[in-house]
């Protein structure tokens, strides 16, 4: 932008070369900060500062309508000792995570393995199987689900065809959560695509060598596919766990947290406290507890990973 032509000229005198060296030294940092300045401002003003404020709010009784008053750890002690809804929503959310993440990933892996072959029609299969994930989190899908799993919906008709008595999926506390789990598992597409990319990386030689040794397909899966894929599995587990903890839209629209709070996800409860009752302080405490729980879950997964994730370069290093 500026007169940088100078730097392109042959350095005539020592003074000029010093000046151009100085410019070289400062130009890049200055330009660098200019280029990243949108994000830097965004990060400081819209992420970091809100996080600091959020910590502060969590120790106040802030209600949006009145200025915040410091109340110490009252919100936290209330949450842990006197809030049965918190305990319920946390329990439901954990149950949801524990059910949906493994089911989703197992489906994703199985289908990815089916798709991992050079064959006619693969692109079409992949398109069809990925499709539900494309229309993923929209309200449209929630409306579809609400209809399909209604008392007179097609799901009951179809299982009735097999002689199974239908249930009131959405209005029965025993089944409402599984309705949501099925929806989330149906959308395993993006995990599947990541698995597929990982499967394509595994060298054919490994399978050929083990076939020569007479290993069965199942043996190959456990001794080649799974170990080689474990870093990607770790990535998917972490990603899906973090996402599942924040489940909101579908529970909000399909079941509204009900019946009898059986699908009252943590994010839903937080939303109700913040925007239903305008208890911004209390909601901030809930948000920090959620962050710590997600952080702990992620840490746990990473800690456990040394027992089940296999890194090829490490093995080579030790050998």
């Amino acid at each position: 932008m500026s007169a940088q032509h100078n730097s392109a000229l042959p350095a005539g005198s020592k003074r000029r070369s010093l000046r151009s060296r100085l410019r070289e030294r400062w130009e890049s940092p200055l330009a660098g900060y200019l280029f990243i300045s949108p994000w830097l401002i965004g990060f400081l003003v819209l992420t970091l500062w809100p996080m600091i404020l959020s910590v502060y709010y969590s120790f106040t009784d802030y209600s949006l309508l009145e200025a915040p008053n410091w109340v110490g750890a009252k919100n936290y002690s209330l949450i842990f000792t006197n809030d049965t809804v918190f305990a319920q929503s946390l329990k439901i959310t954990l149950l949801f995570v524990v059910l949906s993440v493994p089911l989703k990933l197992v489906s994703a892996l199985l289908v990815a393995m089916l798709l991992n072959k050079e064959m006619k029609g693969m692109a079409t299969y992949r398109l069809f199987i990925y499709f539900p994930s494309l229309i993923g989190t929209s309200i449209a899908v929630a409306i579809l689900w609400k209809n399909m799993f209604g008392a007179d919906g097609i799901v009951n008709r179809i299982i009735g065809f097999f002689g199974i008595k239908g249930v009131n999926w959405i209005n029965d506390p025993d089944t409402a959560l599984s309705t949501l789990v099925i929806l989330v598992v149906w959308q395993f597409g993006s995990s599947m695509v990541i698995f597929l990319a990982g499967l394509k990386q595994i060298s054919r030689d490994l399978y050929e060598a083990s076939s020569v040794d007479g290993a069965s397909k199942i043996k190959q899966f456990f001794s080649i596919t799974l170990p080689m894929l474990s870093p990607i599995l770790l990535f998917n587990v972490v990603l899906q766990t973090i996402n599942s903890f924040q489940m909101f839209t579908q529970a909000f629209v399909i079941t509204q947290g009900g019946p009898v709070n059986s699908t009252y996800m943590y994010a839903l409860y937080l939303y109700d406290r913040a925007f239903g009752r305008l208890q911004m302080g209390y909601a901030s405490s809930l948000a920090w507890i959620l962050l710590l729980i997600i952080g702990a879950a992620t840490a746990l997964i990473f800690l456990s990973s040394r027992y089940w994730v296999f890194y090829e370069h490490e093995r080579k290093g030790k050998a």
Partner: protein, 282 residues
Amino acid sequence: MSFSLNRGTWKRHLLLLASSFAMMYPVFWWIGASLKTNAEMGSPSLFPGAPQWRNYIDGWTAIPSYSFTHFYMSTFELVFGVVLLSLVSCSLVAFGFARLDFPLKKIWFGLVLVTLMLPSQVTLVPQYVMFNAFGWVNTYLPFWAPSSLGVGVGGSFFIFLLVQFIRGIPRELDESAKIDGCSYFGIYWRIVLPLTKPALVTVGIYAFLWNWDDFFGHLIYINSVDKYTIQLALRLFMDTQSAMEWGQMLAMSLLSVVPAIIIFLLAQRHFVEGIAATGIKG
């Protein structure tokens, strides 16, 4: 065409066909059901007895005083603004991280990656308080402003994706442009940006889809019906119906996913590769 299918291939085809059917059945049923009467709704059949095209016509104007045309225009206004601003801000930032050296760069970039994983609930309340104080509630500014700073929906992901891509562009091009007297902005604008086009397309697609699908943000920041997006309009439709007009509702919700489907089909290759590269959503 070769028909030399051995036993293994047959089995695989069969399993894949079954999976595809299981995955697509709800979608096909949805299309059929959008043309059904309420009485037919419980039928697992994919085809309506007599197609009720009225579902589309009546559904389009079912919400009093605003037709779906209005909601689509609003949503496009919001989403295109976000897409455009995200492309500009994220590409500038990514160029800075990928090509320039400056103190603390590693720390800042590390923070980009950290925010990738940060649950939005933690900043939710203070951000709302802030935007509320600015008088931005019930405008699209709570979506446009963060996007223009690269911290909107998917912002960190876009920066990360673009940085990875720009790192793959040979630096010799920059060097020779620099010798020719090109400024850093010139290098960004004339050298790097044109070569980054495939990644920019990916970013544009994601920004479109995620903001089109976003419900939580819309729910919190938009509260008058004349500013409603499609997502909010569909929810309103569902909540205000005393006698559920399922056919109309399914028709309108089906239309609401059409833009996503069109974009997906047009740019399928980009899309799948993008997910494979990082796979952050879903």
